[in-house]
Amino acid sequence: MDVSNVNPFLQACTLVLPQLGFSSVKKVNLTVSSKVNAQGVAVSVGIIGDIKGTVVYNFSEDNAKKIASKMMMGMEVAVFDDMAQSAISELTNMLTANASIEFSKIGKNINISTPTLVTGKELGIKVSSNKVLVVEMEADGVAFFVNIGIDGDA
């Protein structure tokens, strides 16, 4: 399992989130898990190229609403509607696209798919890799998870 695959995602978070109005972005925890951490809102983005796998971004519905609100210039987000879903999808697209630029700087070229956003109760998520790197992030106190599953990681 190659932990260096985490850095491009961390760099993407520290680059993109401040542009959306967050002032403090930090990594809270990094664990290796056999399954994806699952709560209310999950967005999966496919990766192929020099590395292949899936990144699943995961938020509680409350936190997804807080982030969407920040992205929409502080507009109140009472329900996690199409507009808010679209904002969160766009966020994960920006984060993964930026991570792909960071990967290219270390000689790994990857392409990314469009995001699939899913909401639900008691979410179960299965990606194809056996192990997943789970990065817990916090942006202005709002927590979210970046689950990185790279195929071939055992």
Partner: protein, 282 residues
């Protein structure tokens, strides 16, 4: 795009005439010309052209700012920068602004025309993909079900708005290529259980096991469909990412960020929804 209409913006009347002559010689219709900011806004608003060729260095407003300004009036046009200056920083900025092409002066006729043709083709290919892909996905789906279970499938198209909740099990696969997209299958736990059983011969209540099965099935359907699309020689270059399986209560697959095409497949095991989306990768 039918008969694209062109607008030329350049502070040099000489350049405007030159570009106009090249476009007209190739049968393109120039509907507007502007050599200053006021004319640019006026002509653009009046004519709503499909294509704008834009000079970079102009006295009142530069080309990038001009494109941004025009987009506040109407976003539905293609743009090509034409400037004597061209370096990494400028092409990078142009890409960032999603400008469709960048040509360095002196303008060569074949370069200008090839750039325009490739922009038009890109558009044409995208709309053809949206029109034609569902038939290909149906065929792959029916073939996969038929060869694995010896049963047949019928289809019904649905509006994305009609499908609000997932039926319980969804598998998503990312599509990468000229037009990146995503594919998903959605079905109830009962359908998945019956479907899995018809192949393995055993009833399984284990979600993980069923997730493995449906991942592989989805992979076959989308893999075969994308192979067929790749064969149509439209430069799609589709490749697939690994599947992600979602299951749970009150699951919803969001269709907010991208137009999602839905087909309901009626199988012997129950209904399975096939969802596809493609974006312009520009």
């Amino acid at each position: 795009m039918k008969e694209p209409r062109f607008m030329i913006v350049d502070d040099s009347p000489f350049s405007v005439t030159l570009i106009e002559k090249m476009l007209q010689a190739n049968g393109y219709n120039v509907v507007a010309k502007a050599t200053n900011k006021n004319d640019m806004i006026k002509m653009f608003t009046e004519e709503k052209p499909d294509f704008v060729t834009m000079d970079l260095t102009m006295p009142e407003i530069n080309g990038f700012e001009s494109i941004k300004l025009l987009r506040t009036i109407d976003t539905n046009f293609k743009s090509v920068m034409i400037s004597s200056l061209k370096d990494d920083e400028l092409t990078e900025e142009s890409k960032k602004l999603k400008i469709n092409g960048y040509i360095q002066k002196p303008v060569k006729e074949d370069e200008l025309i090839n750039t325009i043709k490739s922009i038009i083709n890109y558009d044409k290919n995208y709309y053809e993909l949206l029109d034609e892909h569902q038939a290909v996905f149906k065929e792959s789906f029916a073939d996969a079900v038929n060869s694995m279970t010896r049963t047949t499938v019928s289809f019904k198209e649905k509006n994305a708005e009609e499908v609000k909740f997932s039926m319980g099990f969804a598998v998503a696969i990312g599509i990468i290529g000229t037009f990146p997209g995503r594919f998903f299958l959605d079905m109830s736990n009962e359908t998945l259980t019956a479907f899995t059983k018809s192949i393995t011969g055993q009833e399984s209540e284990d979600s993980e096991e069923k997730a493995h099965f449906i991942s592989e099935f989805a992979n076959i359907v989308v893999g075969n469909a994308c192979s067929l699309l790749n064969l149509t020689d439209k430069n799609y270059k589709f490749r697939l990412s690994s599947p992600t399986v979602f299951y749970g209560e009150e699951l919803t697959v969001s269709t907010a960020n991208l137009k999602t095409f839905m087909i309901v497949a009626k199988t012997e095991f129950g209904e399975i929804i096939i969802g596809t989306s493609f974006s312009r990768g520009e």
